[in-house]
């Protein structure tokens, strides 16, 4: 007779967002039992393209969507499974996200939450994937224009790269953790095109300085920094819904101005540590090693870095 030695129902031990599956993230993020998956795995709406390449398919094509509640508020949620095809956008995957955003215009939730974990477009379904990415960006602007914030949560293994990075750029607010990364071109692509001297993709400390969560938060490329736990992302998402900007001309003009300023202030910097020094960080080299608490203290001491420009 074997005794159970762990109690999966026990709360308290913090579950890593980075390690969690897309479904586990939704489960930890939303109010218990409130999520109703739409076009779920039992529908078997799978990729029509992958079998041509002898590649295995996923029942939900790596995109999980549906309504739920966040602290009682009605929200729509989309989560990418980063371990399936690197979370990349395929035809069905992309269509589900587009569909969710269009549904927001009808259902009018308090917010739409997108849990990014993607390397970009799925090469095997490139045309459909890229089309979907463009449709998502357009749909996000429509949702924001209708007054609903779109909050991006980024903290998975794949990060938010390629088209995912572009979509993140259209969100109202972004929450990022230390392990999360946001960019368009990936490290290997930069190295292949510009050489290892310019960017050594194997130097992971460099990759995270350039694209990682702490750097994005420090420069305002992300608006909130969360510890790598489901609980921390939940708190941050709730906070960001309250603080989403209006989607109007004033916001866009302010965004433009801040991006121009960022270029002026930091355009000649060769490394993120130089940027951080100019931001007023006393010991830039120590930033990657800072604990969440220490990093939060640093952010507070630097003053308001949240703004609308990414």
């Amino acid at each position: 007779m074997s005794e159970r030695i762990i109690d999966p129902a026990a709360k308290g031990w913090a579950t890593s967002w980075y390690e969690a599956s897309a479904r586990a993230r939704i489960d930890g993020l939303l109010d218990a039992g409130s999520f109703r998956e739409v076009v779920g795995p039992e529908q078997r709406r799978m990729s029509p393209h992958l079998p041509l390449f002898d590649l295995p398919r996923a029942f939900d094509d790596g995109m999980i969507v549906g309504p739920g509640r966040l602290d009682g508020k009605p929200v729509l949620v989309a989560a990418q499974e980063g371990r399936f095809m690197g979370g990349a956008f395929g035809e069905v995957h992309g269509a589900k996200l587009v569909g969710l955003l269009r549904a927001a215009l009808v259902l009018k939730p308090d917010a739409v939450l997108i849990l990014f974990d993607t390397g970009g477009v799925r090469l095997q379904e490139a045309n459909a994937g890229e089309t979907a990415i463009a449709e998502v960006m357009r749909a996000i602007t429509q949702v924001r224009e209708a007054g609903m914030p779109v909050i991006g949560l980024i903290g998975g293994r794949a990060g938010a790269y390629g088209g995912g990075g572009l979509i993140a750029g259209t969100c109202s607010r972004l929450v990022v953790s230390e392990g999360g990364r946001i960019s368009v071109s990936g490290p290997e692509v930069i190295e292949t095109n510009k050489g290892a001297e310019e960017f050594d993709s194997r130097d992971r400390a460099l990759v995270w300085r350039t694209m990682g969560g702490k750097h994005r938060r420090l420069t305002g490329g992300a608006d909130a920094y969360a510890d790598d736990t489901l609980a921390a992302f939940r708190r941050a998402a709730l906070d960001m819904i309250e603080r989403a900007p209006a989607f109007d001309l004033a916001t866009l003009e302010a965004e433009q101005a801040r991006l121009e300023q960022r270029l002026t202030h930091f355009g000649d910097c060769r490394d993120a540590t130089e940027i951080w020094a100019r931001l007023g960080v006393n010991d830039p080299e120590a930033v990657p090693a800072l604990t969440t608490a220490a990093f939060d203290t640093l952010l507070a001491s630097l003053g308001e870095t949240t703004h609308d420009a990414r």
Partner: protein
């Protein structure tokens, strides 16, 4: 892709009333298992789609052992395999059965 289907009869239906459950991820060395309470009480089917050809006998043995152990009567089980090892397959099937017993 290789498609395999196994049909079994069990002595009893799987406990619980859960209609469906899913476990695992389609990634290298892993697999996704969808379980649906969709069949008569003492029937069980396991359908597999896998990119690794030629392991039919191994799949048959793994499935047979799982059925004998978990008695998953009434379940339609569908698997998308990413090249998982047999013990990982057993583990996911048992995890899935447990999720369905709630």
């Amino acid at each position: 892709m290789e498609k395999l289907t196994f049909r079994h009869t069990t002595q009893r239906a799987l406990a619980g009333a859960k209609a469906q459950a899913i476990t695992g991820v389609v990634a290298s060395g892993n697999l996704e298992v969808l379980l649906e309470r969709a069949l008569p009480a003492t029937e069980c089917t396991v359908e597999i789609e896998t990119p690794i050809r030629g392991y039919g006998e191994v799949w048959a043995a793994v499935v047979a052992d799982f059925v004998a152990r978990a008695q998953p009567g009434g379940l339609r089980i569908t698997i998308n395999d990413g090249g998982a090892r047999p013990d990982t397959v057993s583990l996911r099937l048992l995890q899935g059965a447990r999720l369905m017993e709630v």
